[in-house]
């Protein structure tokens, strides 16, 4: 509330709103029911502890109980939690969230129990994916972060395990992982005249989608750089990834009301950038034996980042991206003319190149940034 008050005061000072409007906004916000985030946090920890306990009990040594009794007990508690949620559904307070979260998470214990009784085998991702299906309504109905975040965590873990199981075809597995992450992000972005995911679920989709995209992109870069020292131009895998990206961008494009211009540019820029990082390794040393072509690919990716940063006014990221580009251009000089640079004349020329690069970066980065920012 203090932050809001400060902001409103600033807006009044700038003439954006009148003092009366400031008062009206403040009184509206103060009259809105306040939620104790500490209480929500502590309750979340409590729920997690209980569920972990239930899972431990299921996994522990209780072979003396007949399988049917175990199953009956599990279903009894699953139903009790469901009914408890329905009873508290319309009421204020935290119990609704506690019962809903327990209801969703207990399915995981149930899957573990059935797997244990019938000695079922799986790589783990199937069980998590099945749980995601069963717990989706609970994540959907949640009015706190616990269930949506846990659900997305489960989905991410499921996809990650699937990818690690298919490690023999890492390129294909990574392409699937990136595509799923793009589609999850698309669900977070999409809105259409009131039809959109519930806010907590939507925010979780955005967070986990972008996080997974970043992790997979950087992971793929590091892994492929080490493994192949080359670009990955597997057409099918790239097409899959770019289709995923197109879905996410389409979600932003068809959203109504439309996103503000800057937000839209940032979304498209970020999604494209992530696909670029995935498609061409971040630390691209060369394409085959072509060092200059490798440098061009590298500069292209970082230019995307510089442009996206300039469009959205992220000055530090813009400065970093342009600095990296300048360094990379110097590096390619040494890569191409490495042996010549060791001579006396070569060293003088190298020094000129470095100084020229630094000067050009210092002089033109701000101008270019302002120009790009102005275009946005």
């Amino acid at each position: 509330m203090l932050t809001l008050d400060r902001r409103l005061q600033r807006w009044v000072g700038e003439g954006l709103i009148t003092p009366d409007q400031r008062e009206a906004i403040l009184s509206f916000e103060q009259s809105a029911p306040q939620r104790s985030w500490v209480l929500f946090g502590v309750t979340g920890i409590g729920v997690t502890a209980i569920v972990t306990g239930v899972i431990s009990v299921v996994a522990a040594n209780w072979d003396l109980i007949p399988p049917m009794a175990k199953l009956a007990s599990y279903f009894f508690w699953q139903i009790v939690l469901g009914v408890a949620f329905l009873r508290y559904e319309g009421r204020p307070g935290i119990l609704r969230e506690v019962f809903l979260s327990l209801f969703g998470l207990t399915f995981l214990a149930g899957i573990g129990l059935v797997g244990q009784i019938y000695h079922l085998q799986s790589d783990g991702w199937q069980a998590l994916l099945f749980w995601c299906g069963l717990a989706l309504p609970a994540a959907w109905l949640a009015r706190s972060r616990l269930m949506p975040e846990t659900w997305l965590m489960g989905l991410t873990a499921s996809v990650w395990i699937w990818m690690s199981v298919h490690y023999r075809d890492w390129m294909y597995a990574t392409a699937i992982g990136v595509t799923v992450a793009y589609i999850v992000t698309a669900f977070g972005i999409f809105r259409f005249r009131g039809y959109e995911l519930p806010s907590f679920f939507r925010n979780a989709c955005l967070r986990w989608g972008v996080l997974a995209l970043g992790a997979v992109s950087v992971g793929a870069n590091v892994m492929w750089y080490e493994k192949t020292r080359n670009v990955i131009f597997d057409r099918n895998n790239l097409v899959l990834t770019w289709v995923g990206m197109a879905i996410a961008i389409l979600a932003a494009l068809v959203s109504r009301p439309p996103y503000p211009q800057k937000a839209f540019t940032a979304i498209v820029g970020a999604l494209t950038l992530l696909a670029a990082f995935y498609s061409i390794p971040l630390l691209q040393p060369e394409m085959g034996e072509q060092k200059i072509a490798g440098c061009v690919g590298f500069v292209l990716i970082w230019s995307f980042m510089a442009a996206a940063a300039a469009f959205t006014g992220r000055k530090r990221i813009y400065d970093l991206a342009t600095l990296v580009i300048a360094i990379r251009i110097i590096v390619v000089y040494f890569e191409v003319f490495g042996s010549l640079a060791a001579t006396g004349v070569g060293l003088i020329f190298s020094g000129i190149i470095i100084l020229g690069g630094a000067l050009a970066w210092h002089r033109y980065r701000t101008k270019l940034g302002n120009w790009l920012g102005g275009k946005a």
Partner: protein, 168 residues
């Protein structure tokens, strides 16, 4: 109370009940076979309280160079006992005369059917550090060739009974 919210609670429970029910029916109505097993490695502690083993299907159960989905025809000796494979081939082209068959996959030369581990209590661990000799499993087979392990035997006795004898 909105119908949507009731369905959000009821439908997942019904799906879960259907899944559990499928396994209950599978184990109670399926055809039972016994298959010999052997240990290929000390029990993998990271896998939890599971006994992990390789199933011995006999000479006719070898995958050779085959990879991917495969079906194994099983034969049980008259009077009962451990079953062995009479042949292995494509699931689509399997012999209609084969009444007991197991669906699985050939992976790196081995036939795996999702029946290669058995949950056991933590208290059994000191007595079953490795797969004991003369061990076999009971598997329930449904009409689609899917197998579920129902019991682990050592020297003809259920695992629990064997362990209790060892601990005396």
């Amino acid at each position: 109370m909105k119908l949507g919210k009731v369905l959000a609670i009821v439908v997942p429970i019904l799906i879960m009940a259907g899944w559990a029910g499928k396994h209950i029916l599978h184990t109670s109505l399926g055809a039972k076979v016994r298959l010999a097993v052997k240990g290929y490695d000390p029990r993998d502690l990271l896998a939890g309280h599971y006994l992990r083993y390789a199933v011995e299907y006999g000479a006719n159960g070898n995958c050779g160079s085959r990879e991917g989905e495969a079906c194994l025809c099983l034969s049980t000796p008259e009077g009962g006992g451990v079953s062995t494979a009479t042949g292995l081939g494509n699931c689509r082209d399997r012999d209609s005369a084969c009444s007991l068959w197991l669906r699985g996959r050939c992976e790196r030369g081995n036939f795996v059917a999702g029946i290669e581990r058995f949950y056991m209590s933590e208290g059994f661990a000191p007595s079953v550090k490795v797969i004991p000799p003369n061990a076999d499993i009971e598997v329930s087979l449904d009409g689609r060739g899917s197998g579920v392990v129902t019991e682990f035997f050592v020297e003809g006795k259920p695992l629990r009974e064997y362990v209790l004898e060892q601990q005396k």
